[in-house]
């Protein structure tokens, strides 16, 4: 049977893997997470433009690694024993002690920087996987109806942002038609002006279209005041509660109980506010065992890595000092990440989108 998995399941799975990636710089584990994520995306993405955008996230991840390495060479604190690049170092005043401008680049330092970049890059790729597997627009469907103003802004952002790239490309090409080869700041302005104008126009058109189609419609006589009061009280409660929780000198009653009451009030406000917006959902995504499995797999990966970090943090790091060693293979963490592979095998396959619809497109 083919169906699309609930978007929340994919997002929680991806967040689990992103958390796992955040805890390690061990190249073996990072590589494993990347393999798992890529495998699941290739196995379970649909033919939508979001699905096709996955490689952009992969490219972004690679760029992050590169930038991190370049930053290390330029201003990073260098350490290690194996000299790679004998660069001169600039003398900096004492107050800039945290920065080392230039200086000799060692393999250990560069590798450490690359792996830190890889950690962030892997997290980005995990988010990209969630994007490819469940379009953000489907996720917005489960957004609380009471917050429809924020919802409108999110929908507009999520719709218009991908068009930005196309817009920039189009304007860059048009610039050539004017024989314009200016670089630097002037070029930025020449591209930015038409692109921003275009984006603003599109955003307004979309917002107007949503308005005209009844987005954020309210039924007569919604309990507006009660909703506002509940939400306001809830927010105050949550603030006081978090303060109490973090400040060890305040009485215990001000902490967790207050936070719980505050959150409860907020939820009440959202539910009540949501009732005033008579929205229904066409073909509600079901939440069945594949969703539970997906969610659990993501959580297992995060939990395995967390427990490893508690018990043996060194196993999750790349040994760099005093000398480069071979990264260890922490069995629990590896098994945890491998579990996250399951959704790519056991969840239902998404329905194929019609390839017939894909026509030759003129460049815009």
């Amino acid at each position: 049977m083919t169906r699309q998995l609930h978007p929340v399941a994919w997002w929680l799975w991806a967040i689990g893997l992103a958390v796992a990636a955040a805890l390690t710089t061990n190249p073996l584990l990072l590589g494993l997470i990347l393999i798992v994520v890529t495998f699941v995306v290739l196995a379970r993405r649909d033919g939508s433009p979001w699905g096709r955008a996955f490689r952009l996230y992969a490219a972004l991840g690679a760029v992050i690694v590169l930038v991190r390495m370049l930053l290390h060479i330029a201003v990073g604190l260098k350490y290690g024993t194996i000299l790679l690049l004998p660069l001169p170092e600039a003398d900096l005043p004492a107050w800039a002690a945290g920065i080392q401008l230039g200086g000799q680049v060692y393999l250990e330092g560069l590798l450490g920087a690359a792996l830190e970049g890889a950690r962030l890059g892997t997290m980005i790729v995990a988010v990209g996987a969630a994007n490819a597997l469940a379009s953000p627009k489907r996720l917005l469907k489960v957004f609380p109806a009471a917050l429809h103003e924020i919802g409108a802004a999110l929908v507009v952002a999520v719709t218009v942002a991908p068009q930005l790239a196309a817009s920039v490309q189009r304007v860059m090409r048009a610039r050539q038609l004017r024989g314009d080869s200016a670089g630097g700041l002037r070029a930025v302005r020449r591209v930015a002006m038409p692109v921003l104008q275009d984006t603003l126009d599109r955003s307004l058109l979309l917002a107007a279209a949503m308005d005209g189609r009844g987005y954020g419609r309210r039924v007569e006589g919604g309990r507006h005041r009660v909703t506002s009061a509940l939400t306001l009280l809830g927010l105050v409660g949550a603030c006081v509660g978090s303060y109490g929780l973090l400040d060890t000198t305040s009485p215990a009653a001000l902490g967790l109980p207050m936070l719980a009451v505050g959150v409860a009030f907020c939820v009440g406000g959202l539910v009540l506010g949501g009732r005033a917006v008579p929205r229904t959902i066409y073909r509600r995504d079901p939440w069945a065992w594949p969703e539970w499995v997906t969610l659990a797999c993501g959580m297992v990966a995060a939990a395995a890595m967390l427990s490893m970090a508690r018990r043996d943090p060194a196993a999750l790091a790349m040994p760099l000092v005093p000398r480069i060693g071979i990264p260890r293979v922490p069995v629990v963490a590896v098994l945890g990440v491998l579990v996250a592979l399951l959704p790519g095998l056991v969840t239902p396959v998404p329905p194929l989108t019609s390839a017939r619809a894909r026509r030759d497109r003129e460049p815009r």
Binding site: R178, G179, G212, Y215, R217, T353, S354
Partner: protein, 617 residues
């Protein structure tokens, strides 16, 4: 009859709309009623207030746009003063010009359901209506397709379907076919008329190309400088500032009532046709309109149309009336050639291939493509095209959305992708081998979204910049602009110009570089009749000065008025090329109205008819 009578679809009462910071109202004294079940066409010049008038129908004006609305607008009894667009969503559905800009979801099915979700309809009802709507619009096989993958016509039908599912009693369409090819436009208009007749929906539609809609309209609202008059189509057309060719024909011939469709005009034109045949001679046994126009060859069509002996004699015999041949509007086309206009007798022209070529050498093409192939990723946009465009002539590039017109133009200019093949200018240079700056001195391109070329705050600054970047004396660009469009204040922001004004500015900027070849990608989109006529005259003037002009367009009437040659593309290939008369009249989808009225006589425009009849004015 009270105002709250809900059988009245729309009642404007003493409506005036003034936008913030504007001294004058955009529309004023609007006192018009639309009854349920009518198909109402809103027409008027660009900037006359059409869009504002449509915007008042669902409260978009003033709730979303700001400004002040005086008077009252009631839609099925609901006052837009107290109802925001979202509160009218169950009554009014709005479809805009660019369907993609209004899509909220990713796939066809979700988009159809979106409006119903917001209205809170039960899921079972939604399922039923989505299925019905998919069938009504004939897009059932596309239900799961991503919206961005659809063709323009399909997208527009989905947009209509997405408002249809909420069962609105009024549908408002603002230029729904402006981005579509003739066939796509037909699809959309057929859908709309079907809704009116089968479901009794009230439809209000604004459209520049009246020839597409006028015949279906029950009532026409004419907007002129903010004032709105209402009446039967034939009555309003007696004074409208914009009129399709059949109406122009009726006005010229003094018919009462005016014709609003080709059918009306054809009936009315019996006398004219007889007179035409007396003056010029009846067309010889004409070949079918599917003649082999492909063999015309634009590059060869540099002026001479070779008539075989018999038809040549027939067509050119001296007659007492003094007409010697079918006039092709020669006087309009300087350059010392005969038959420079493609308007050779259709019936005759189809048999011209039997004749040996004449001694006259065809002019060198200003630009020619040799085996040009363009691929965008895995998509093959242009498939090995060989075509030359003659200098001193206006050539039109026509074809479906996605046929490869834009890709070919960009490849010709040299900036766009070209996977294989060569492009040669008159002296053999390949524009791609030049730097962008030099390239534009040889080949200018006005892209589809012309505004992309503009980035400064005022028209004057853009002109000055154009002079600088082309190394021309100051004032060159401003002079071109003055010639193309009068009265554009130089301190105006380019974003505030009308479509026609912006196009004129971009064309002036491109002409400043002094290119021999000028390519225009869909310049007629959003232009009204007077603006199109002005553009056409400009292009013909430029051609007369020796420029090579290539225009891609969907606008058949514009092509008939302006182009000497037509190249028809489909799926990246050239399927027909030759003089306008041959190519355009050969297909029912591409034939202009006047050609249909006088078929099989080889007339394309009212000007042709008047010239044939020797009408001096």
């Amino acid at each position: 009859m009270t105002l709250s009578n809900t059988d009245i679809a729309v009642a404007w009462r003493h409506v005036a709309v003034t936008y913030a910071d504007a001294a004058e109202p955009v529309i004023r004294d609007v006192d018009v009623t639309i009854e349920e079940g009518e198909l109402v066409l809103v027409c008027g010049r660009t900037g006359s207030g059409k869009s504002t008038l449509l915007g008042t129908l669902n409260g978009h004006v003033p709730h979303f746009t700001g400004g002040t609305l005086r008077g009252s607008v009631r839609v099925f009894g609901r006052d837009t003063a107290t109802h925001r667009p979202r509160d009218l969503a169950d009554l009014v559905g709005v479809v805009g010009q660019n369907p993609l800009a209004g899509f909220v979801t990713d796939t066809v099915e979700e988009e159809l359901a979106y409006g119903m979700e917001q209205l809170g309809l039960p899921p079972a009802t939604m399922r039923k209506r989505v299925e019905e709507t998919l069938d009504i619009l004939g897009i059932a096989e596309l239900r799961a397709a991503p919206l961005t993958d659809l063709s323009g016509g399909q997208q527009q039908r989905v947009a209509i379907g997405s408002v249809l599912t909420t069962h609105p009693r009024l549908i408002v369409l603002d230029e729904p076919t402006s981005a579509l090819d003739p066939t796509g436009a037909e699809e959309v208009l057929a859908t709309i008329t079907r809704l009116v007749h089968d479901l009794g929906v009230t439809v209000v539609i604004a459209e520049h190309r009246l020839e597409r809609v006028l015949q279906y309209a029950d009532r026409v609202l004419h907007v002129d400088a903010g004032r709105v008059t209402s009446g039967a189509p034939a009555d309003v057309m007696t004074y409208a500032a914009v009129a399709p060719p059949v109406v122009e024909l009726g006005r010229w011939a003094g018919w009462d009532p005016l014709p609003v469709s080709v059918r009306d005009a054809r009936r009315g034109a019996r006398g004219l046709r007889a007179r035409l045949d007396r003056v010029v001679g009846a067309p010889g046994a004409p070949a079918g309109p599917t003649g082999s126009a492909t063999e015309g060859g634009v590059s060869g069509g540099g002026g001479r149309i070779d008539l075989d002996g018999r038809t040549g004699r027939e067509g050119r015999t001296e007659r007492p009336g003094g007409r010697t041949e079918w006039p092709g509007g020669r006087t309009e086309w300087p350059g010392g050639r005969t038959d420079t206009r493609g308007g050779t007798p259709l019936g005759f022209a189809f048999r011209r291939h039997a004749a040996p070529p004449t001694a006259a050498t065809p002019p060198t093409p200003g630009i020619r493509a040799e085996g040009v192939r363009v691929e965008h990723g895995r998509v093959l946009a242009v498939d090995g095209v060989d075509v030359g465009f003659a200098a001193g002539r206006v050539s039109a590039l026509m074809g479906r959305n996605g046929a490869g017109k834009s890709s070919l133009l960009w490849a010709l200019q040299g900036t766009g992708t070209r996977t294989r093949g060569a492009v040669r200018l008159a002296d053999g240079t390949d524009p791609r081998s030049l730097s962008p700056g030099e390239r534009r001195r040889r080949v200018g391109l006005v892209p589809q979204s012309a505004g992309d070329l503009l980035y400064l705050d005022t028209v004057g600054a853009e002109c000055a910049q154009a002079d600088r970047e082309s190394g021309r004396p100051a004032g060159t660009c401003a002079a071109f602009l003055g010639r193309l469009a009068r009265g554009i204040p130089s301190e105006r922001h380019p974003g505030d110009l009308s479509e026609g004004g912006r196009l004129a500015l971009v064309l002036a900027v491109q002409l400043t570089a002094g290119p021999d070849v000028v390519l225009l990608d869909e310049p007629t989109r959003g232009l009204d009749y007077p603006a199109k006529a002005a553009l056409g005259a400009t292009l013909r003037d430029l051609a007369a000065e020796g420029h090579t002009i290539v225009v891609s367009t969907h606008d058949v009437e514009f092509v008939a008025e302006t182009a000497h040659d037509v190249v028809l593309m489909a799926q990246g290939e050239i399927v027909a090329a030759g003089p306008t008369g041959d190519v355009v009249a050969a297909s029912p989808a591409f034939a202009p109205q006047v050609a249909k009225v006088f078929h099989p006589r080889p007339l394309l425009t009212l000007a042709d008819l008047r010239a044939a009849l020797g009408d001096p004015s």
